[in-house]
């Protein structure tokens, strides 16, 4: 390889990480290898130290840079995802361009995954050698600075999104809140009481909804969906599709006469979870924000029964001009924002998928959401818990936990809220009906503040808890003596017996699932979903709010199942992160970017269609391709694709990577045989 690296002075630092690395890798031997064997490659100093990331460790590097005139630094320690920033900072303080430092991961990729000391040490040496060869080809880079637009897009008007929107708006910055349902409020608006305190969900939610609806800095876009997102952190252009409401939002006063006069009654599959009714023109619930109805063209007589039918809503609408517009079209609006918070929430597991639980086949098998609606005083039964006949109160009720959750046949995860929700529902059923209630659980999970106390309380109320995953719910007796009408068949695992508990009603605590369209949504916003569909946070522990895409944050259940307090906390945290960006005014980005060497570019246009961020464009006059550094995200696909080798990628250049390959193959590289 052509070598103009001779004049460099490299420092190599091998971290013990206490015994984390030193317990498996002979760190002294690695440092000695660097100092002696790599002398010819420019290594002038090599040290090992207990904790390189400590202040003393960093000072060691800084001192060497100043005193020994280091021009390159290699730190063999943990993953760069942990401490690359730390060591770049140290270099920067000592006057060395931060991008002339390189990390060799000998903890995550060596010490923690291998056991044989000799082999691990040999591998560590190869990795250090690779890093030295690479760093010799590093170039000084400058972070890219981008300005931050003050507006923020919040997607999803459930409790998490509301919290984010309100926090940002309170700080005085504009927020666009996009919600695809006719009203904000989300799932929380469907519930009656909230665990463990049994506050009324509406009482604590509606003030927040009202505040968001009237806040001068919040613009609501309900019955709308984000269609397209372009740009990058600080500078996003978002296209929002406004679905037609067939009602003029600016004119409608929300008087509700149209709803009253509409003759079409349909089952409300959304807000009432399929057990209540709404009209063809409706607001999902009384406290809806905005309080403007939506007309459903799939059931409205005007559309279904041929044009011109009915029109009662229009006839009785008191506004001038008339708020009903039958031929309203969908609209598209464009927003400019600097940051995006995704709080798109969750969907309920479809309990019909578990055939043996009989939901959909056995009338008196309900889902938790159906029961929530039944318990709600504003719900379809006015707060009464009744069987499917709409009248009879059940005398014996079985509540099945973990429906669709913790089950590899459906969803592998724990939905985290079902234990507490099931305990709450047990309490509510007992309170409303006095029924005997049986909760069937695999494990009771009540780990937050006051949760276990609530479980104790419900135990004390006389609810039966049977440990066992329900095998089946059946309406067929085993023999003539069995009396149902329904049987919950389960192994009582604590008694070691198969039991069949006769009940009148079964409630399935269906789990939380990612939104069915989460993958598509993730794609729109350029963020990743895990294989099961939850949005992936930047770091599972240290950054559960940001995503891998700068300027896009997640809050609430879109990132994973969580309860209301956790959703609120995450919503607020996302707001804090956004506000911090807005206040900084500009942002430094990793200078990993592709660029075109125009002299070598032949304008073949092979790379032109490769960039999903539209950073590549063709300059017709000069017949060359150009890359917009601000749009480029640094993936390097075009670098690898350019047939002429005319595109180079800073931070990950061909020279760096080829040198690293050679370096890593240190112990197997053979002396070439002379020709």
């Amino acid at each position: 390889m052509a070598d103009n690296t001779q004049q460099e002075r490299v420092g190599v630092y091998v971290c013990h990480c206490g015994s984390n690395i030193a317990g498996v890798v002979d760190v002294q031997s690695v440092a000695r290898f660097a100092a002696e064997d790599l002398k010819g490659r420019g290594v002038v100093v090599a040290r090992d130290y207990t904790f390189m990331c400590s202040v003393t460790g960093q000072e060691l590097i800084e001192q060497d840079i100043r005193e020994q005139g280091l021009t390159r630094v290699v730190v063999a320690a943990c993953s760069p995802h942990l401490h690359e920033g730390t060591f770049r900072g140290a270099c920067g303080r000592a006057g060395l361009n931060p991008y002339l430092a390189e990390m060799a991961s000998i903890r995550e990729h060596v010490a923690w995954v291998h056991t044989d000391k000799a082999v691990a040490t040999a591998k560590a040496k190869a990795i250090v050698n690779g890093a030295v060869e690479r760093v010799l080809r590093n170039e000084p880079l400058e972070a890219i600075r981008v300005p931050i637009e003050a507006g923020t897009l919040v997607v999803g008007g459930g409790i998490a999104g509301l919290q984010t929107a309100l926090e940002i708006a309170e700080a005085g910055y504009p927020v666009h809140l996009v919600e695809r349902e006719p009203s904000i409020g989300g799932h929380m608006a469907q519930f009656d009481k909230t665990f463990p305190t049994l506050d009324c969900a509406a009482c604590i939610l509606t003030p927040k909804m009202a505040a968001a609806g009237s806040h001068p800095h919040i613009q609501l876009h309900t019955w709308s969906e984000v269609e397209k997102v372009e740009g990058y952190v600080g500078n996003y252009t978002v296209t929002v599709k406004k679905k037609p409401r067939y009602v003029l939002e600016d004119v409608c006063t929300g008087c509700g006469i149209c709803i009253e006069k509409c003759p079409v009654l349909v089952v409300d599959e959304a807000h009432d979870a399929g057990i209540g009714y709404r009209k063809a023109i409706y607001t999902p619930f009384a406290q809806a924000v905005p309080n403007i109805p939506v007309l459903d063209p799939d059931t409205c007589t005007y559309y279904v029964g041929g044009k011109g039918g009915c029109r009662a809503c229009e006839k009785f609408c008191p506004t001038e001009p008339n708020s009903i517009v039958f031929d309203q079209q969908e609209e598209r609006i464009t927003l400019r924002v600097g940051n995006i918070v995704l709080a798109t929430g969750w969907d309920l597991f479809d309990a019909r998928r578990i055939h043996q639980y009989g939901y959909g086949r056995l009338a008196n098998v309900f889902t938790n959401l159906e029961l929530e609606r039944m318990c709600n005083a504003a719900g379809p039964t006015g707060g009464k818990v009744v069987l499917r006949d709409g009248q009879t109160a059940p005398a014996r009720v079985g509540i099945v936990h973990c429906v669709g959750s913790r089950d590899r046949n459906y969803n592998n995860w724990c939905s985290s809220i079902c234990c507490m929700q099931s305990v709450k529902l047990a309490h509510l059923v007992k309170e409303r009906t006095g029924a005997e209630v049986f909760n069937f659980y695999i494990d009771m999970r009540t780990p937050a503040k006051d949760y276990d106390e609530f479980y104790q309380r419900v135990l004390d109320e006389g609810v039966h808890f049977i440990r066992g995953k329900v095998a089946e719910v059946s309406d067929v007796p085993r023999g003539p003596d069995e009396q149902g009408p329904l049987f919950v068949q389960v192994e009582d695992t604590l008694a070691g017996l198969q039991r069949r508990i006769p009940v009148d009603m079964v409630v399935l605590s269906a789990g939380l699932e990612p939104r069915r369209d989460s993958k598509a949504v993730g794609k729109t916003f350029g963020i990743a979903c895990s294989t099961n569909g939850w949005f992936i946070e930047k770091h599972a522990k240290l950054d559960p709010i940001a995503t891998m895409t700068e300027g896009v944050f997640v809050a609430g259940c879109a990132q994973g199942p969580k309860d209301i307090p956790a959703s609120v906390a995450q919503g607020a945290a996302a707001a804090a992160r956004v506000l911090s960006y807005i206040r900084q005014g500009e942002l430094a980005l990793e200078p990993v970017r592709a660029s075109v060497n125009e002299a070598q570019c032949s304008g073949c246009r092979l790379c032109n269609g490769l960039c999903p961020f539209n950073a590549i464009s063709f300059i017709e006059e000069r017949r060359v391709t150009e890359i917009n550094a601000a749009l480029c995200q640094g993936c390097g696909t075009c670098v690898a694709a350019c047939p002429a080798g005319a595109i180079s990628g800073s931070g990950f250049s061909n020279e760096q990577l080829l040198a690293q390959i050679e370096g890593l193959l240190l112990d197997v590289a053979r002396v070439p045989e002379p020709a």
């Binding site: 046949n409 695999i442 066992g468 995953k469 095998a471 089946e472 068949q489 192994e491 695992t493 198969q498």
Partner: protein, 193 residues
């Protein structure tokens, strides 16, 4: 059953689970049991079993090999596979039951010889003729294990004969030598494993 672990079991702790898993083909995942009881709840013979399958798995983990292999549980398995398809951990429960049966036969531990006897009688016919032989099977099995019930079952047998649903002589396949060689080799390989 005893609630105190035997010294033997103490020594073998963990080893028994590994042996059961190794003797069960494929990714049987027995180690993944979360003791939820969906197997015991689903089992049509569950009420008759000394231990539910779930409990049996706990005993396997505890190394209680003797208790496990003496248990009637695997013999009451009807191979309906409800437990297998409902298991939230995708454990191949029915296959594990087969493993336990063959281990129990080899260890000579199962107390009620009748189910094992049925299986063994069946196997004898297959190994002799290459086909099963219902009349012989029923007669020989009942003669050995339930001599008293034989008379009671006679009407059924006669009914079968009358309807041409049972034959008096077994059919022997042509490739009996070949089959014999294959089975001998298979037994040799199983013993070696």
């Amino acid at each position: 059953m005893s609630t105190v672990s035997t010294p033997d079991a103490q020594q073998d702790r963990g080893g028994f689970l590994a042996r059961v898993m190794a003797a069960t083909p494929g990714d049987n995942r027995l180690n993944m049991c979360i003791q939820c009881g969906s197997c015991g709840g689903s089992c049509p013979s569950g009420p008759e079993m000394e231990h539910t399958p779930r409990r049996l798995f706990a005993l396997i983990r505890a190394g209680e090999s003797e208790t496990v292999l003496r248990s009637n549980t695997p013999w009451f398995c009807v191979s309906c596979y409800y437990c297998t398809v409902r298991c939230p951990q995708n454990i191949h429960i029915t296959d594990v039951m087969y493993t336990l049966k063959s281990m129990a036969i080899r260890a000579g531990l199962y107390r009620d010889p009748s189910p094992a006897g049925f299986s063994e009688t069946f196997v004898d016919y297959v190994e002799k003729y290459g086909r099963s032989f219902e009349l012989g099977l029923a007669t020989r099995f009942n003669l050995r294990h339930h001599p008293l019930s034989l008379a009671g079952m006679a009407p059924l047998g006669l009914g079968m004969l009358k309807r041409g649903r049972m034959e008096l002589t077994p059919h022997r396949i042509d490739g009996m030598d070949q089959l014999g060689a294959i089975l001998d080799k298979a037994k040799e390989l199983e013993a070696a494993a």
